[in-house]
Symmetry: C2
Subunit: 174 residues, 2 copies
Amino acid sequence: MNTYTSQPRWLDEHEQMVWREYLRASRLLEAALDRDLQAHGLQLSEYEILSVLSEQPDRRLRMSVIADLVVQSRSRLTHTAGRLENRGWVRREACAMDKRGVELVLTDTGFAEITRMAPAHVESVRANLLDHLSREDLLAFGRAVAAVSQGILSTGVCDEVRAAEQLHAAGTAR
Amino acid sequence: MNTYTSQPRWLDEHEQMVWREYLRASRLLEAALDRDLQAHGLQLSEYEILSVLSEQPDRRLRMSVIADLVVQSRSRLTHTAGRLENRGWVRREACAMDKRGVELVLTDTGFAEITRMAPAHVESVRANLLDHLSREDLLAFGRAVAAVSQGILSTGVCDEVRAAEQLHAAGTAR
C-alpha cells in the first residue's frame, strides 16, 4: 500500500463505477442465492461447506482447510458447522493423524441433502449470474476474478487475517 | 428458472471455473477490505452505510432507501445502525414528512471519521482489487458486474427478498 504519500490516489470515474457496480452486484447475487436456498433453510455460506465436503473422496476435511477453501474465519466456520451438526448433516471428529486437529465429516443424511439441493442451486447460479453474461463476457469476468484472487493471496492477507483472528480469539478468551 | 425440465443443466468446465473463482475472489476481497478497516473497528458493510450518507447533501436517508442501496436486509441494517449509533457516528430520527418512517443521519463526528478513513480505504480498494486489473480488464469486469446487477434487479428478486423478510419478521413477532 501507498502509505507514504500524503495525497490519496482517489478513484477516477471509471474506477469508481466499477467498484460500486461490483459491490452492488456481489451483494445482490449473495442475496438472490440465499433467497433460493432459503427453501432448504440454508445460506450460501453453509451450502459451500457441504459442497466442498461432498467433493472429497472420504467426505471429510480439516476445519482449518475448509476455512481456507471457503474463506471464512475459523470462528464463523465453527458456528456454521454447529448449525449443520444440529441438523445431522455433518459431525465433528478428532483427526486420526493429529489429535489436536478437528475434521468435519459429511454424514449420509448431509450427502443426500446436498444431492437433493444441487440441481436447484445450479439453476439459481445460472439464473442469477451465468445467464446474464455472454460466453465472451463470462470468460473475461473469469480472468478478472482469478487475477483478483491471485493478487490478494500473493499479498499474504490471509495469513494476516488468521493472525488477527488468533489475537482476537486470545483477547476474547481472557 | 428452468423448473420443468427433469435434467439439471450442470455447469460446464468454464462455467464451473468462473463461478468458483468469483466466489473465492469475492470472499477474499471482503476479508481483505474488512482487515484494512479493522484498524478503525469497522467492517466494509458499516463503511458503506457511512459512505452513502456522507454523499447526501443533508447527510440523511431513510432506512428503507439505505437498505436498497447497500443491499442489506432491514434487520441487519437496524443492527448495524445501532452499533454506529453507539459510537456517536449516526443517529436515528423520525422522517419529517412521514412519522412512520425512520431516517439515519450522519453526525458531525461520523462525517469527520469517514473523512479520516477514506484515504486508507481507497488505497485498500486499489491494493486489493483495482491494482490487479489492467484498464481493459477493469472495464470488461465493470460491464460484467453491471449486467449481473441489472439482470438480478430485473427479475424482481429484491421485492421477493423484502417480502420473505416481512414474513419472517411477522413469524418472529408471533
